[in-house]
Symmetry: C2
Subunit: 189 residues, 2 copies
């Protein structure tokens, strides 16, 4: 622990994750979080909608970076290559803060209501990637299928990474995409 | 409307869907549903956990049929072919009760809390397919990636089908799988 971020939002996030890990998500209250972070409850709710929200902060920003990366990919790139360039940004960002990301992951895995929130978050990521692909001229349905499938590959890699600290997330994402390439080559045979 | 099913569960389901379509999901109460179906509230809760649950009845059974179909597929079939055989069963079942399935779909699309429940249901389907593939000897991570990606393709087809009454769901699922085959062929290029 003790990886303080200087800003209020980061302090609240660390305090919350520490308490969730120490006492469990269900038994942790917002006043406990704000006491540890040294801020008021009102401050908490200026930054987060609820105590679930703390674990998903940063995802909206990351999602925007993914969208921008896909938009900036060379026009000649395939849908999967453009989408993969976006996912690689996300994978690299998570890898660079791997201890925090893994702490969050283990909390989410252990808590059904957080797993639901994570599903919704991943659905939003797929929606963002799909829109970015459509903007690149990919046909609507193909864009949605590719976006959902790529995010599915990312999730599988992400879950595996949570339990295999020796592995690097970007590499695991590539492996998941390769396994889909191999598997889908057999469609229609 | 008026497509009564003879059994109590089916009567409750039809009554609920009629009321949800007439008055909206949020404004419909369980007593209104049981009054229309001519049963007691206690009977409702013998069949369903809550009023969301009504719209997802039958999915557990369909999920079991998908799993059995995959288990029964010839050992020589590829992971995608085995999984597709399972999804085709689900697509055919939904196609055969298309009016009801589309009513449910439009209700779910219009209601955020139902969309969340649908995400959880699809995640459960992916989990079931993944287990069925692992039982066939497919490597763990590949099985999960393929299962999630195939369910993603199914969802895209399913959503499109909800708005395109002239199309058949099994055909749309095949098209979505073909689009993934084509897209993923470019991975790593």
């Amino acid at each position: 622990m003790g990886r303080w971020k200087p800003d209020t939002s980061g302090r609240l996030e660390r305090a919350a994750i520490e308490l969730y890990l120490e006492n469990g998500f269900a038994r942790t209250t917002v006043p406990q979080i704000t006491e540890r972070a040294g801020v008021t409850t009102r401050t908490f709710f200026r930054h987060f909608a609820d105590k679930r929200d703390v674990l998903f902060v940063g995802h909206d920003e990351l999602r925007e970076r993914v969208a921008k990366t896909i938009a900036a990919a060379p026009p000649a790139w395939s849908a999967t290559k453009a989408a993969a360039s976006g996912l690689n940004i996300a994978a690299a960002a998570l890898q660079s803060s791997q201890d925090e990301a893994r702490d969050r992951r283990s909390l989410i895995t252990a808590t059904p209501e957080l797993r639901e929130r994570e599903l919704i978050m991943f659905a939003a990521v797929a929606g963002t990637i799909s829109e970015a692909l459509i903007a690149r001229g990919v046909e609507d349905r193909a864009a949605r299928a590719v976006a959902e499938a790529m995010v599915a590959a990312f999730r599988v890699a992400f879950e595996y990474w949570g339990e295999h600290t020796e592995r690097e997330l970007p590499q695991l994402v590539d492996e998941a995409l390769d396994s889909l390439k191999e598997a889908f080559a057999a469609v229609g045979d």
